[in-house]
């Protein structure tokens, strides 16, 4: 199957600054593909190269198998939802949405009908006559979406579209976007720096750091089996141990990642028996306690300056498991399979 979008050894430099460094990747047709990374990691530049707003200084960009590297944006079967929505302020909502059809010469009645259909699709019926300035952030975001979908592009690019929304709205939009993608059936390429967002919405995630691809995989692969130290540190909360510390705490001679929620915490006095097979236990002292709502975060010192992060599910005050205070003596245990060796690691 031809990939929807393919990067073939693409680099993009702005003078001496290399924003994208020899990136190769493939986005499968119909999937929800996320580019994830911190600011300045090159993910937005990659998206812009797919859209045609930035030309690579090296390499090829292919869209559905055809070389699109130096095509103008209007020559590509790709549409974009911009971070600031970029709605035309001097046009009302209906004209904004119908713009893509208008510039291709569609006649008024037909394109207005289609615009209204798009408004239905994004659950905003009847606001066609309003101006962008009169809309809320969430409404503008949906209008931008409707506008980008009216041309039925084969690939939709979304540049951190949920960044400006507040938490509750963002979470509901995440669910809606995912459902929309399944409904419309086209390829979505989504850029975000929020790893929670990436994990919850994507079919596959591509993690960027400083212009390079660190790992491409499903959310499970990224989370449970990070390929590099950067991915392990960037996604989820965990403990990264190396060298002598790794050996002492986990018994493994490698760079090891241990997720904070996989560690069980119990009062030291209760852990008198030996370890079950495949389990590992270390004693420790609680240094910090943070109440996070759905879980409690502990920072536990396990000797010689090594501190482990433990996320302990909050099962309520009356539950069997007690919560621990600072200075409490505890025992931490985890199944050895929870330790993940990090393979290739950039320093």
């Amino acid at each position: 199957m031809v990939a929807a979008v393919a990067f073939d050894d693409v680099s993009c430099a702005f003078g001496p600054v290399i924003a994208v460094d020899r990136v190769s990747l493939e986005v499968r047709a119909g999937e929800f593909f996320t580019l994830l990374g911190p600011s300045g990691s090159g993910k937005t530049t990659c998206l812009r190269m797919v859209g045609g707003f930035q030309f690579p200084t090296r390499g090829r960009v292919l869209i559905h198998g055809a070389d699109a590297t130096r095509l103008a944006p209007y020559e590509r079967d790709v549409n974009t939802v911009f971070q600031d929505y970029a709605l035309f302020p001097h046009m009302n909502v209906r004209d904004n949405i119908a713009y893509g059809l208008m510039v291709r010469g569609a006649e008024k009645a037909g394109r207005y009908r289609r615009a209204d259909e798009m408004l239905e699709l994004v659950h905003l019926p009847g606001i066609g006559a309003r101006r962008p300035a009169e809309l809320s952030g969430g409404q503008r975001q949906r209008v931008a979406l409707a506008r980008a979908l009216i041309n039925r592009p084969r690939v939709l690019l979304l540049d951190e579209p949920l960044g400006a929304l507040d938490l509750k709205l963002r979470e509901s939009m995440q669910v809606e976007l995912k459902a929309l993608q399944r409904q419309v059936g086209i390829t979505f390429v989504f850029v975000t720096h929020d790893q929670q967002e990436a994990l919850s919405m994507s079919d596959r995630v591509c993690v960027f750091d400083r212009g390079r691809v660190e790992q491409i995989g499903t959310p499970e692969e990224i989370y449970d089996r990070p390929a590099t130290r950067f991915v392990a540190g960037f996604v989820g909360a965990g403990n990264l141990l190396e060298g002598a510390q790794a050996r002492r705490v986990t018994g493994l001679d490698a760079a090891v990642m241990l997720r904070a929620e996989r560690i069980r915490i119990a009062a030291r006095s209760e852990r008198t028996g030996g370890d079950a097979a495949g389990q590992r236990t270390v004693p420790g002292v609680v240094k910090e306690v943070e109440y996070m709502g759905s879980y409690i975060r502990y920072i536990v010192e396990v000797g010689e300056g090594v501190e482990l992060l433990v996320n302990h599910a909050n099962l309520g005050a009356g539950a069997a498991r007690r919560n621990f205070a600072r200075g409490a003596e505890v025992a931490l245990s985890w199944p050895e399979s929870a330790c993940h060796r990090i393979g290739a690691g950039a320093a």
Binding site: F55, A72, Y74, L101, R104, A106, G110, R111
Partner: protein, 314 residues
Amino acid sequence: MSALLAAAAAPAGPLRWLSSFLYNRRGLYLALLLAPPLFWLGVVYCGSLLSLLASSFFGMDEFTGMIRREFTLRNFVDLAAPANLDVIVRTVAMATAVTLGCAVIGFPIAYYMARYTRGALRAAFYLGVMLPLWSSYLVRVYAWKLLLAKEGVVNWVFAQTGMSWLLEALLSVPVIGGPSLSISTLGTFIVFVYIWLPFMILPIQAALERVPQSLLDASADLGARDTATFWKVIFPLALPGIVAGSIFTFSLTLGDYIIPGIIGDSSMFIGQVVFLQQGTAGNVPLAAAFTIVPIAVMAVYLTVAKRMGAFDAL
């Protein structure tokens, strides 16, 4: 639905091809955009300036009155003649005085505008400064000619308040005085300040507006009283604006020949000399040489001003 889209196929055509061609060649696109304005300003305007510079090196045959196109430094030597030096010094002195006058009168207005007005009142003030700026220069000069005349308003006010003796005293001071306010260096000074005042107010106001309130709060929080905050925080930040405004007042005064001609007495300013030389005397080379003086002065002034950050305040 797909019929609609099929009918609305992407328009091909020469314009679209041109657009894609230029999209790929950004340098060419910029060059095409800039060609007409650059041609106009570069060739036409700069060309004229260069020809002016060139002609300042030409000589004029005194008998025939024809310009001889041969290289000579005679014009610049002439500039050093006492009468001419006099003109230059007088003009520069007036420009300095006008700049100071504008700064002193303009600063309170700008300060009040930036700090104590809001909304409709600020808009009113802004318009109040903008309108004189853009409305007719000659009308405004003319207004003062009427006001300063012997039977005009200013004299009447002095007479009514019993201060005529003060006016007489001022007018009898040798350099700045004259037969009447409307024919005196003092009068010229007043009119210059009046005309260029908006040029000084707007940059100061813009610079002051950019001072965030949080800076002033921090200063007060750290224990500074109002006067200290003013001199140590506000004034230094307003200074680029003052310098920016002074560029205008200085430059405009250096080259002006109309106000001294209408309000002044017979003492000449650079602008008037230039006008006379190229006009009735036909001595364009000498006039050109004289023009170099304000250009040179402004070049120095602009370099100093740039270093003081005035360009960011424009």
